[in-house]
């Protein structure tokens, strides 16, 4: 399996994603610069967290026009696996690869803390190693993670089971208290209708080693590796 982590000016979790893929998961990983115009022999493209272009104007609104994004869109249309975390999720929405938008957090402040998400659909290339309803602990660190989409988009996402992760209590209930940033239906992560593009606000790469407090994020990376193995 070969993976690529895209670096936009302002990305600051690119090294973190690279470290987990290469040193924790042992995947052959390389960086791609936002001005590159070819992805090459890659099985999975990762859009890391950070403040691409300073998050100016709107989070991800400028990164979405970087030359590499045309290639990412072609790669996704061709069925390639694309995974966006935090700022990466915001860029995927602005680029139209995922529906909806990430707005300012409900409490208007930046939030960095451990949260729990519930696995809603294990039949995806990003959650196949999880069990239905499984609780995963991992950190969030964002100022704009409040997911919104028009009502009929939300209905379609729910009907097609494209909502893959939801903010939940430690006991696994979906409550408003567990809803860290005000997202519609506690949505923390969604995939596209084809299931090959996923965006999520929580950071699995910051919870892939017990030393950092939780290794639950590894279930997601395991899912990706297993699914690629099936395809390749």
């Amino acid at each position: 399996m070969k993976a690529a982590v895209i670096v936009f000016p302002g990305s600051n979790c690119d090294h973190d994603m690279y470290y987990v893929l290469k040193h924790v998961m042992g995947i052959d990983t390389q960086f791609l610069w936002h001005k590159d115009t070819a992805i090459g022999e890659i099985d999975a493209v990762f859009l890391p967290g950070g403040f691409s272009f300073g998050d100016y104007l709107r989070t991800g609104s400028i990164a979405r026009f970087s030359p590499i994004m045309d290639e990412v869109i072609k790669f996704a249309d061709g069925g390639g696996l694309v995974f966006g975390v935090c700022n990466g999720f915001q860029v995927l929405c602005e680029a139209g690869l995922l529906p909806g938008v990430l707005r300012k957090n409900r409490n208007l402040d930046f939030i960095c803390r451990q949260v729990t998400v519930r696995v809603e659909n294990t039949a995806t290339r990003f959650s196949s190693a999880c069990t239905q309803g499984q609780i995963l602990q991992m950190p969030v660190a964002h100022g704009e993670g409040n997911y919104y989409a028009e009502p009929d988009t939300i209905r379609k996402l729910e009907e097609n089971r494209q909502v893959v992760f939801r903010y939940a209590t430690v006991e696994g209930e979906i409550t408003d208290r567990a809803n860290i940033n005000g997202s519609v239906n506690n949505i923390a992560g969604i995939c596209n209708d084809r299931g090959n593009v996923l965006g999520m606000m929580p950071h699995p790469e910051r919870a892939a080693e017990f030393q950092l407090g939780s290794a639950d994020g590894k279930f997601i990376f395991d899912s990706i590796v297993n699914k690629i193995a099936e395809f390749v």
Partner: protein, 89 residues
Amino acid sequence: MPLYNAQVFIQLKDGILDPQGKAVEHALASLKFTGMSDVRIGKMIELQVESPNETQAAGNVEQACEKLLANPIIETYEFKLSQLNEAGA
């Protein structure tokens, strides 16, 4: 080439929750500003546009809003143009 000043106003679509507006409304009340309500926060982007004529200038600004400046899912935009100098000045 004539130079135009464009003022682009970007606002949340009606019906979309505006927590920032609500927070400001709350703060105004606590500072004893009575009678102030329905506070909504939006963006104002000002820029200068060099263009052969006003229609083309407007077309350019429209394009910029559609492509970059506004997010159609939750925002609406409108803009005003004013000429800054005479042609070729």
